[in-house]
Symmetry: C2
Subunit: 354 residues, 2 copies
């Protein structure tokens, strides 16, 4: 399996340049997985074992793209270094091996699909490979009873995910020459009470599925820039609002609006730029069984992940991967080989004994 | 004279592309100004009438470059539209005509040089044409007893100019994912008390030469920008400090430092990026006589101008031009033809009767 992982890591696959790795995986699946069926949407694939009636259908879900610049794979003791090692080729290799193993069993109690999609790191959502895969194969994907998404989770189970809304806020002053500030109004200064009010909104804890999520609102990017010798006539910022599973997108936008109103800034000018929903946690007997069997720590996913998209078509799903969250998108990304092997083993055991 | 102004305006002369207009003016001077002497430094020129011993030496000072995009000259009643009409070709034409007139007088009581320089709009100072002209011809320029700089002043006399210091201030927090703000520290939020303190520093009036200047300090450009989904780990801004004539550059930097200390922000990280001095007002009998004869309103130059460079080599100088300050750098720049004619007339009368 480690050789397979090294092969995957040695194929560069930055977002939107994933044809080569997809071809490699497809060839490998045809060679190693008996009777595999494939569905194609662009550079995304669904590889399925022949379906057996009335068995639960499990999806092993992963993406092919990586963020760091490509570099040649190398190993230092237990650590394997490569672009995408933790996020998330370290999960793809075990998924492929599991598909191979299962295909050889004479007797199994689960159906399996390996859902492989491109451009996970692409934003907006309209460029995301899973988005297009759902558009193209929604009916088939909806037959999944549970999806395990192999994003890096340090071997924990991460459930749900917070929704994320980005809005641009613009506060206008009056530009003028910086030698004569009385001719204008400094937009940054005018924005201070607003920034202060947003800064004072504390994270709001919400417990769902026994784990704690937090609603948070923050000013992230900001700027006032019409020249060094001008009193800025405009201050603009991006506000990012993250919210726990529960509210619909519409409800979240109302709450976001209420938070802005609570700043007391009159006639605030803002535009919601984009918004992805939270992932509800769809509790099913099957999901609970899997979580229980794995016996790993269950955490809230205090971030946005594609679990929300699966959730959007009613597929129970959780994040569970061998990668380290801290390594994701790092320049010299690595993964622990022991974690990869453990990950394979526990999933193999779970599936075998189901 | 209006024809000459139209000719000047019809030659495009954006900063650093001033060869053509300089050639035109040089040719014109050789044709129209008897006995003219010329000194050349790059695209800058000093045109002088033959020197007569023991007469005061007056400099008529102007620049060739314009800021707005070039467009064909047109006239609407009293207004002449053209790139650089107010800033400051509207003064160059009268200067050229004055040189021509004076050269024809059998009897005059003043020496004259028309100091024409390029790249006034260039920053930093090292790209400014007057800077290079002073480097090349400092000895000759120092023989000037008074310089009239034809920058747009709405026909008023503007004396002195404020010094200008730009500094970058960086306030560091700790970057982290915007879904988990507790992992970091928002640099913009951390900067709020500092911004508030700077905003609360009131303009400080200083009366020099009977006119009011103001020391002012402002945050102009600012930004926190390491992605929409990150808590910013750094907030950076430009601070512009303008100060009345009086303090030396070193004294001004000490005062600037004191102002930053007064914000109470500990261990503030800042770098002075560039600094141009204020213009002292060098009062001489000649300058007072000219100001008195012109009888125009005297104002403080609450901005920076090249008068400061002349001042730096001990030349008494003031800004006095027919252009409108509000028109400077405007896309559809214009000047009032009546103002141009009045400007020529009053200078002609002053010089004739001296």
């Amino acid at each position: 399996m480690i050789d397979l992982l090294i092969n995957l890591l040695n194929i560069p696959s930055p977002t939107f340049q994933e044809e080569k790795i997809t071809d490699f995986i497809e060839d490998w699946m045809f060679c190693h997985v008996e009777g595999v069926l494939v569905k194609t949407v662009g550079n995304s694939r669904i590889f399925s074992l022949p379906m057996i009636d009335n068995l639960p259908h499990i999806g092993l879900v992963g993406h092919t793209d990586v963020v760091p610049k490509h570099f040649e794979v190398y190993q230092r003791k237990d650590l394997l270094f490569g672009a995408g090692a933790s996020d998330m080729k370290g999960a793809l290799a075990p998924f492929m091996m599991l598909m191979e193993s299962c295909s050889k069993w004479s007797d199994r109690h689960l159906n399996f699909s390996f859902v492989l999609y491109c451009a996970e790191e692409g934003t907006p959502l309209e460029e995301n490979g899973l988005y297009h895969l759902i558009l193209g194969e929604e009916e088939f994907l909806k037959t999944l009873d549970l999806a395990i998404v192999g994003e890096p989770t340090n071997g924990c189970i991460q459930v749900g995910c917070v929704g994320s809304l980005h809005a641009e806020v613009i506060i206008r002053g009056v530009a003028c020459h910086s030698a004569r500030p009385w001719d204008g109004e400094n937009a940054l200064y005018k924005a201070l009470p607003f920034i202060r009010s947003i800064a004072e909104i504390k994270p709001l804890k919400k417990t769902v599925f026994g784990v704690d999520f937090f609603d948070v609102i923050n000013v992230t990017e900001s700027k006032s820039e019409n020249g060094r010798t001008s009193i800025p006539g405009q201050w603009a910022c991006n506000i990012n609002y993250r919210y726990a599973p529960g509210p619909s997108m519409q409800e979240a936008e109302i709450e976001f609006n209420n938070l802005l109103v609570s700043t007391g800034f009159e006639k605030l000018e803002f535009t919601v730029l984009d918004h992805v929903p939270s992932a509800q946690i769809i509790e099913t007997e099957l999901l609970n069984k899997f979580v229980c069997f794995l016996g790993r720590q269950v955490e809230a996913k205090q971030a946005w992940t594609d679990v929300a998209q699966l959730n959007g078509i009613d597929i129970p799903a959780f994040n569970f991967g061998p990668g380290l969250t801290q390594q994701a998108h790092k320049a010299n990304e690595y993964i622990s080989l022991r974690d990869v092997v453990d990950y394979y083993k526990i999933l193999h055991e779970l599936i075998k004994n189901y």
